[in-house]
Amino acid sequence: MAKAAPIPGLEPRARFGDAAAAAVEIRSAEVFEHARGVLDINDIERVHDMRVATRRLRAALEVFATCFPNKRHRGLLAEVKALADALGERRDPDVAIEELTKVANGLGAAERPGIAGLIEELHAEQLDGNRVLAGVLLGVHECGLEDRLAELARSARAEQEQTS
């Protein structure tokens, strides 16, 4: 799992709004850095890394919610959540397959066909999840989610500058 990048300026006495802008900028950049190769089902760590990065971004949006324009923040949080859900739908079968394979390896030949059938079902879900994720990623790209998140972060800074 990729380590989270440090957020510059995260000092105890930093303004909450400034910390919010920096956190969303850094965490958002991390999500899109991990997008490459995420649909490759032979390398399940890629989807895991992007999922973790998306969770961290979602957490930043939730923790600092009060610093952003309400309506825009709510819309973007919902979009990030939809991306996280799609990544989760794709990732969950990966994890289950790994766990079931470990259990099956410890069992005798008589027990294996039942678990193999279940694993087969999960492989089908993995492919379905990948199709859904491909659609969501396309939507994320087409609607410029990355740019709009950057704009949201900027707006927190701008609002603060106006009020200070």
Partner: protein, 194 residues
């Protein structure tokens, strides 16, 4: 589960002060949800406790560079809770799924044997039982179900022990006290900080 609203947050205020307020609410939320979850071990309540520990973990991880060691330690504790709760959740997701799969296979096998007997059949030959298309599948699924039921019980006991070791009130108080250091008032210019 919707997160409890944190009152008094101020975008113009200091990070440490705002973060402290959020952590205090998230801690309170976790403690409130842990009680029913650990008392009955019901899947829904444990799920809520998992979400609460995740929220606490993330706010602490996010703000640890500003809030210091107490936040880092608190995040580790929350992660440990979240991890075991996540493993229990996986069992809770998989067990009904196995049950549903067994039921589907059973119905499909019964339909296959019925169809093989033909429309005019007066009875079903006992030898037909050996011809169930999925006959080799049940055993593995039942064994898996037994394993996951036992594993869940082991994990639940581990969670209960982990929580008991935290002495919940002590954990919250210690964490908040540690965070207080980071939000101590700024020393006036020219004076050394206490």
């Amino acid at each position: 589960m919707k997160a409890r609203r944190v009152k008094g947050l101020d975008p113009e205020g200091e990070l440490a002060v705002n973060a402290y307020r959020i952590v205090a609410v998230r801690l309170d939320e976790l403690e409130a949800l842990a009680l029913p979850a650990l008392e009955h071990g019901e899947a829904g309540a444990l799920h809520d406790m998992r979400i609460a520990s995740k929220r606490l973990r993330y706010v602490l991880e996010m703000t640890a560079p500003a809030l210091g060691e107490a936040a880092r330690e608190g995040a580790k504790t929350a992660k440990a809770l979240q991890d075991v709760l996540g493993e229990i959740h996986d069992c809770d997701e998989m067990l009904p799924r196995i049950g549903a799969r067994i039921a589907r296979l059973r119905d499909s096998d019964a339909d296959a044997l019925r169809a093989a007997a033909g429309d005019g059949a007066k009875d079903l030959d006992p030898a037909a039982a050996a011809e169930t298309p999925n006959g080799t599948h049940y055993r593995g699924l039942e064994v898996l179900s037994v394993y996951l039921t036992a594993r869940r019980a082991v994990l639940f006991d581990r969670l209960s022990d982990q929580w008991a070791e935290l002495e919940p009130q002590g954990f919250a108080a210690e964490l908040l006290e540690g965070l207080s250091d980071a939000r101590a008032p700024r020393a006036p210019t020219g004076e050394a900080a206490p």
